[in-house]
């Protein structure tokens, strides 16, 4: 299927592309274009768009090429840095998850086997002194203190990480 309304449009398009229209073409073709609606439309559109392009070419105030070059280099470097830091972040997350899982498993194991050293440890380190007097002799005081210290350590780590990230 052809979308050319006139068989001579191809010839005319080539002349227009080379800039040979209208001065370097035959009088016969000129007469044809004057009579042919499709060819006349092609000439009108091509000339209108070319004139518009010539009109637009001097309009912009361009940035110096060096600035664009430098910004491209900067973006390349930033992209490379991001690409590098992505697996590092993954490794950090993996390490934290493994450490937490190990700690949880160990605590679970100790609790299942009736570990009494939790209470002894907190008493030996005088952690219970930080608790209200009513709770100091409670059987869960030791475990509560250990959990409290673990939570404080974890929160401290998170705060430190966020601060260094910023």
């Amino acid at each position: 299927m052809s979308f050319l309304a006139c068989p001579r449009e191809k010839e005319l398009a080539a002349l227009l592309a080379l800039g040979h229209w209208p001065h370097a073409c035959s009088a016969e073709l000129e007469a044809h274009v004057a009579a042919c609606h499709a060819c006349r439309a092609r000439v009108a559109i091509t000339q209108a768009f070319r004139a518009e392009r010539e009109q637009a070419i001097p309009e912009p105030r361009l940035e110096p090429s060096g600035v664009l070059w430098w910004r491209a280099q900067l973006r390349r470097r930033n992209t490379a840095m991001e690409r590098l830091s992505r697996p590092l972040l993954g490794a950090h997350i993996f390490a934290v998850v493994v450490a937490l899982a190990a700690a949880g498993a160990y605590l679970g194991f100790e609790l299942c086997h009736g570990a009494t050293w939790f209470g002894d440890l907190s008493r030996a380190l005088h952690f219970t002194a930080l608790l209200p007097p009513a709770l100091q002799n409670s059987p869960i005081a030791g475990i509560a203190m250990v959990l409290l210290v673990a939570l404080a350590t974890l929160a401290g780590g998170v705060v430190l990480y966020r601060a260094s990230d910023r």
């Binding site: 979308f3 518009e52 912009p60 060096g66 664009l68 491209a72």
Partner: protein, 196 residues
Amino acid sequence: MNLESVIPNALAGEAPALAGATGTSTGMDDEVFAGFYARSARPLWAYLARVSSDPTLADDLLQEAYIRFLTAATPRSAQLDGEVAARRYLFRIATNLLRDHWRRPRAASLEDVPERHFEIHGHAALSESRALLGPLLIQLRPRERQLLWLAYAEGYSHHEIAHITGLASASIRLLLFRARRKAARLLEPPSDRRSQ
């Protein structure tokens, strides 16, 4: 702070390369790029400004297109075929940026519109008054403006337009035929239009 104090010779187009021998994946060094930029920037701006009808947007997209051109992994064909292919690749990047801009959701309320938006309209109106084809381009759809500009202002073939716009070559033929028919009708004097 003066730019020259941060980047030596940046304004003269001699900014130092931060990575690699040529500093880009296009295989261009800064001097070759400066020449390429000087030859291609104004036609690319004209394309962006006339297709989008917004010169300020054209300024932004032009810079972004060159930065992406320099940072992207250029297809091997564009490296081998020289400046013509590099230019075509640049137009393709600019076309994708235009498409992304049109797809982006617009601001919902007047409060969300930044102050500079109002300046854009003033500038655009000024430019439209300078544009010869202003009234015609406004009546065409963006896709039609794009195809007509690439075919008749830039002189690209159907195959090249297909490469730039990402459409099939056969679709280009049909879309361009329709756009041209519409543009021809709009270019005719009103008396001729009535007589048909």
